[in-house]
């Protein structure tokens, strides 16, 4: 069959193209322009070349923020992904009332906006009125997320795991649902252990959704802003000042547009690299599967 070629269809893409140009490309170009200049406001700019990039690349403050960010993302992925798989494996396999109840319960945290999650945990962890903080204090555990860095980290990590593990669970559950019963029956005939069933049936079948889950969790945790901002404000000291919090402090707090622009471009390139890698792996494994 000969396909007809109709290039007029490209015009259908035009609205999206304009929208993306307006909302992403033009702002990004502006950021690039800002990153090579200095300004004292009033739309007056002074050419500084690549000074900001050099400053940012050598800045102790940003190295530390990047380190904290990488650590946070690694911890979130190490806890969130296995926990999500574990919960998905223990959800009821067959459709019914119980599985619907489980799904709704699991999906609940996803419906809550970031700043509300932050506020909930900010109150939850308080020693005077929060359930968690008060209980821990009455058990004699010294817990104070506003003064102790470790406590602040634990609070933010538990909060993020609570908020986003559901996403991993839902994706994995969808992956598990797509496995035909015949696979399990075959495994039973071969007297496969629980681990073998997981390793050779469930995990390979979940590969596609897991890559998406890891990509989404990576992106979300790597650019996290609102929740830690509401709970700790980046403190105590700089203990929970992640990249985006530092970036906003620099750009809006100190109005250092040039360094902030250079910094956000480096941040953008890091995310672009990782996203491209994940995307390529995803497309590649899809083709392999077909």
């Amino acid at each position: 069959m000969k396909k007809t070629v109709n290039h007029k269809a490209w015009f259908m893409v035009l609205p999206v193209l304009l929208l993306v140009a307006f909302s992403a490309v033009i702002p990004l170009m502006t950021v690039v322009n800002y990153s090579v200049q200095d300004t004292f406001g009033n739309n007056e700019f002074f050419w500084v070349g690549l000074e900001w990039f050099e400053e940012v690349l050598h800045s102790q403050r940003l190295h530390e923020a990047l380190g904290r960010q990488a650590l946070f993302t690694a911890i979130i992925l190490l806890i969130g992904i296995p926990l999500g798989i574990f919960i998905a494996l223990n959800m009821p396999k067959h459709k019914g009332l119980w599985s619907s109840v489980c799904l709704v319960l699991v999906a609940l945290p996803l419906l809550i906006p970031w700043n509300v999650v932050g506020t909930i945990w900010q109150v939850f962890g308080r020693i005077d009125i929060g359930l968690l903080g008060y209980t821990l204090a009455s058990l004699g555990i010294d817990y104070n997320y506003t003064q102790n860095s470790l406590d602040a980290w634990i609070t933010i990590i538990v909060m993020d795991v609570w908020h986003w593990t559901s996403l991993v669970v839902l994706l994995c559950y969808a992956g598990l649902q797509s496995i035909p019963d015949a696979y399990y029956q075959a495994a039973k005939i071969d007297q496969a252990s629980r681990w073998s069933v997981f390793r050779y049936i469930e995990l390979p079948k979940m590969k596609g959704v897991l890559i998406i889950a890891i990509l989404l969790r990576f992106m979300d945790s790597f650019m996290i802003y609102t929740e830690p901002f509401v709970v700790t404000g980046g403190g105590p000291g700089n203990a929970t000042t992640f990249l985006s919090i530092d970036l906003v402090k620099m750009a809006i707090g100190q109005f250092d547009l040039g360094p902030a622009a250079a910094f956000s471009l480096i941040y953008f390139l890091c995310i672009l690299l990782v996203s491209w890698a994940f995307y390529t792996i995803m497309i590649h494994s899809d083709k392999e599967a077909n």
Partner: protein
């Protein structure tokens, strides 16, 4: 249309014009001689567009590494970038 709020400078304008013309050249090239994706040293299929993307992203990191280790100006890094892009188009 007043674009002064965007803070344009000549070097950044040249930078974006270069990327824009690269995209146009790639489009024209693709119309003149349509491509077939091939498997290179990264062991997955790439099109010319993929190779351009890899070249540009890699070049950005080459420039950043150069700035971090050597410092400005970036002419040396630019040479490395061109060599890198040529390698990507040849082997990836």
């Amino acid at each position: 249309m007043d674009l002064s709020w965007m803070g344009w400078t000549q070097p950044t304008a040249i930078f974006f014009a270069t990327i824009g013309s690269l995209l146009v050249i790639m489009t024209v090239w693709n119309i003149l001689s349509p491509q077939t994706p091939r498997v290179g040293i990264l062991r997955f299929e790439t099109t010319r567009g993929d190779r351009l993307f890899i070249s540009l992203l890699g070049s950005a990191f080459i420039c950043l590494i150069w700035l971090g280790l050597v410092g400005s100006p970036l002419w040396g890094a630019l040479v490395v970038c061109v060599v890198f892009a040529a390698c990507v188009f040849r082997w990836v």
